[in-house]
């Protein structure tokens, strides 16, 4: 999957979950600062990422994903 495809899928997940417009999201968007996500939102989002991309994201890696760009990079680097 290309980086753009991963990005589009992740933006799709975010617009659905956080009820924001796709054009308001960029790679720099921070989950906690820009999307007002709390710890429950973040765990839910990581589980959705795992399901969407059939990935396993260990807790210690999940903690490092704070922006949309970091989520895209993580999925890109851990593709099966």
């Amino acid at each position: 999957m290309s980086e753009q495809e991963i990005y589009d899928k992740i933006v799709g997940l975010i617009t659905d979950k956080f009820e924001v417009e796709a054009d308001s999201i960029s790679k720099a968007t921070s989950f906690s600062d820009d999307l007002d996500a709390d710890s429950i939102d973040l765990v839910e989002f990581v589980l959705e990422l795992e399901e969407e991309f059939d990935a396993e994201i260990p807790d210690e890696d999940a903690e490092k994903i704070t922006t949309v760009g970091e989520a895209v990079d993580y999925i890109k680097d851990h593709q099966k």
Partner: protein, 333 residues
Amino acid sequence: MKIAVDAMGGDNAPQVVVEGIEKARDEWTDLEFVLYGDQSKIKKYLKNSDRIEIVHTDEEILGTDEPVKAIRSKKNSSMVLAAKAVKNKEADALFSLGNTGALLASGIFIVGRIKQVDRPALMPTLPVINSSLGVNMLDVGANAEAKPAYLQQWAVMGSIYARDVKKIKNPRVALLNNGTEEDKGDPTHKDAYKLLENTEGINFIGNIESNNILAGEADIIVTDGFTGNAALKAIEGTATILLKQMKHALLDNGIFTKMGAAIVAPSLRGLRDMFDTSKAGGAVLLGLKSPVVKAHGAADSETVFYTVKQIYDMLLNDTVNKANKYFEQMSKD
């Protein structure tokens, strides 16, 4: 209607779980059960497997496990498998006596929230002095913080539950606060008061103080999870210490006091029965796509039976969908 049961959770599992489920199966002929857990241990107590399926697993979540980590690392545990069955629509509700935090996590992250509900809340039934129906308090610890909108959503869901399951026509909703006047409390509680006052479909009666939680003045008490948890534990702790001290005063102070104790014993037993909420079932995690209910880890088979009744009433009345529809309508208005 099918209920997924984590058969391994609780102090006396799977025995009390199997006994309570069998009694419930005999009572309600349209109910089916799937028990998740150690097959040989379950079979040891199961007398009749009619409408009871067993899904074997060796893995279980312990009381000491860290909740979110446990549901992510113990994917074949009885609780996680039962939650997944509900998520995949193979079952209609989830029931466990196990680790409360892990059940909250399973409910929120596996079963999933109703879209319009920001945060699910944990809602037990507490005894009150003037009614066997008790009072429902939420949230008692699923969330440490709350926004006024969460409290409003909990008031709505609690009211729907009280109407459907407890058959109270116009349940009284109160906001736990540090005074009864409407301007009491921090900004969250002041805003919540205004919001609740203007919420359609609920009967908001104002603020309530913690000394009146068990006074029977309200049917639903909404509070943030931090305060709710502290208040609940204060009540439990006070009751335990009081009973212990009473027992000590009656039995450890000579023969005459003991004779007096024998005379008042029947009244004391009556008091105990009055505060017995086992017929109310377990604590419900409200705000999820399907009913998720937690019975006390030390529950007996009778409580298991009544918790199934509670779940049955929620399924029969479509309680979850009513909340769903209410919030959908609210978001359109």
